[in-house]
């Protein structure tokens, strides 16, 4: 595994895992020095994919760095990883109550999980969004709404299990500001799988993971005939834009992004390794004070 597993390196990591899905895989994280919510949730997704392809839990060698282990513990990684990996559980560390964890890694496969996430995040989001990002106190509501909609995407469209996690960081070197990073990933049927029956015909030969992503992400298409459906992702994009954030969605072989001026991610990347489900990453930067 790479030394750093975050929103910039998770695609390459998942690509490699995708190509090796039929093989026996050892996840060697001993030299991992840095991991963010995208990395942690991506690692769970990768382990889950390898495990279901091989019929047995893949081995995970946990990081040697005590800092990384401590961080993984604070994010509740080990609790989720035990269901996905064969691993030696690290010695239980005392977890400090003071941290910038907004939402520990949480498995989602039912609506009550969304309720629990929204209830849980409200107790912490207010303090972190105001003190770290400089957002108004009322921003906890649109933040919770955004989290609710992005998690429902798993239940409503993916029809498969998934995970969510969120954390605040000081991106001192990269941006000179605090950010909140949110990651939501599932291994369901993905955007193309969700939309094919209803919409592929009109695209003809052009129908692909990238056109399916464009249809849902940019135009709000959904498999439902109901005109009230398909607005969740649109509203998330709107809110992320309001906060000058970055949102990107990978599904299958493509990734689409709404890119703010502080980031240089491509708006569309194609030709990635085929991966089930959808992987959504959101980065919300601190407000620039006038």
């Amino acid at each position: 595994m790479p030394g750093a597993l975050d929103h910039t390196s998770v695609d390459a990591f998942l690509d490699e895992v995708s190509y090796r899905r039929g093989e026996r895989v050892l996840f060697d994280a001993r030299h991992l020095r840095w991991i963010d919510p995208n990395g942690m949730v991506g690692l769970l997704l990768a382990g889950s994919l390898v495990g279901s392809a091989s019929g047995s839990l893949p081995r995970l060698e946990v990081p040697e760095s005590q800092d990384v282990l401590g961080y993984l513990a604070r994010m509740g990684f080990h609790d989720q990883a035990r269901r996905v990996f064969d691993l030696e559980p690290p010695a239980r560390r005392s977890v400090s109550g003071q941290s910038d964890v907004l939402l520990e890694i949480t498995a989602i496969d039912a609506n009550h999980h969304v309720h629990e996430i929204v209830d849980r995040v409200q107790t912490r989001a207010g303090a972190i969004l105001t003190s770290k990002l400089g957002y108004p106190a009322a921003s906890v509501i649109p933040f919770s709404v955004m989290l609710s909609e992005v998690c429902q995407n798993i239940i409503e469209h993916a029809e498969g299990p998934g995970w969510v996690a969120a954390q605040a960081y000081n991106w001192a070197k990269r941006l000179g500001r605090f950010v909140v990073v949110i990651s939501v990933m599932d291994r369901g049927r993905g955007f193309r799988g969700s939309l094919t029956d209803e919409h592929s015909a009109r695209y003809g030969d052009r129908w692909s993971d990238s056109t399916a992503l464009e249809a849902a992400f940019l135009h709000g298409l959904t498999r439902f005939a109901d005109p009230g459906r398909g607005q969740g992702l649109q509203q998330i994009r709107k809110q992320v834009r309001k906060w000058s954030g970055l949102i990107s969605v990978r599904s299958g072989t493509a990734r689409i992004a709404q890119v703010p001026d502080w980031d240089d991610s491509p708006p569309m990347a194609d030709g990635l390794a085929p991966l089930p489900g959808a992987q959504i990453g959101i980065v919300l930067p601190a407000a620039i004070q006038p």
Binding site: N111, V114, H115, A138, S144, Q152, G228, Q231, G232, Q235
Partner: protein, 193 residues
């Protein structure tokens, strides 16, 4: 109320949420939750007459997401606008600033509009409506109600008349079939506030 006036009904969405879904959650999130709450509201409305006006109160709701707003506001309105057998009018209360974007968003998506209490005793039209409709609605809201023969108080020309008819058809104002008097919905629920 007389046979020609709508039956007034007050519905506290916070209580409906507690009763119909679970007592553990105070947030109106997820589509199944919204659907369950809408169905519980519809059950309450079944007990009303052919013509009813409901005050749907969100004051006790902590968070409402777009999926729930679509189920509890947009689908509720849409359903009764299409219902030939019953006329159900709605006023929404407690749509505080944090809920406003969600309610407005789902209404605009389906070109709907609703009468909403935006501040104590202050009502507004939220959603999609023309400038003419908004102008006529605001004059009616100011007057409270106008007699059939005094409609000129709120409509200045033919386009305004069309706008008033549209407001009536969209369930944003009420005309008594008996007297022809036109009422602002906020006045019809005033005693429920």
């Amino acid at each position: 109320m007389s046979a020609h006036a709508p039956d007034p009904i007050a519905i506290d969405v916070g209580q409906v949420l507690q009763r119909s879904v679970t007592s553990l959650y105070s947030s109106l999130v997820t589509r199944p939750t919204g659907r369950a709450v809408r169905m519980a509201i519809e059950t309450q409305l079944q007990g009303a007459g052919r013509l009813s006006i409901s005050l749907i109160d969100f004051s006790e709701v902590g968070i409402i997401d777009f999926s729930c707003a679509d189920e509890v506001v947009a689908k509720l309105l849409q359903q009764y606008l299409q219902d030939e057998a019953r006329d159900a009018l709605f006023v929404f209360r407690g749509v505080r600033e944090p809920h406003h974007a969600q309610v407005e968003g789902v209404l605009e998506r389906q070109a709907l509009a609703a009468v909403v209490e935006v501040a104590p005793d202050q009502f507004g039209l939220v959603g999609t409506c023309s400038d003419r409709e908004r102008g006529v609605w605001e004059r009616l809201e100011h007057e409270g109600s106008v007699e059939a023969q005094a409609v000129a108080q709120i409509v200045a020309d033919e386009e305004d008349e069309e706008a008033l008819e549209s407001l009536l058809a969209r369930g944003l104002a009420f005309r008594s079939p008996h007297s022809g008097r036109v009422h602002a919905l906020s006045r019809l629920v005033a005693h429920l506030l």
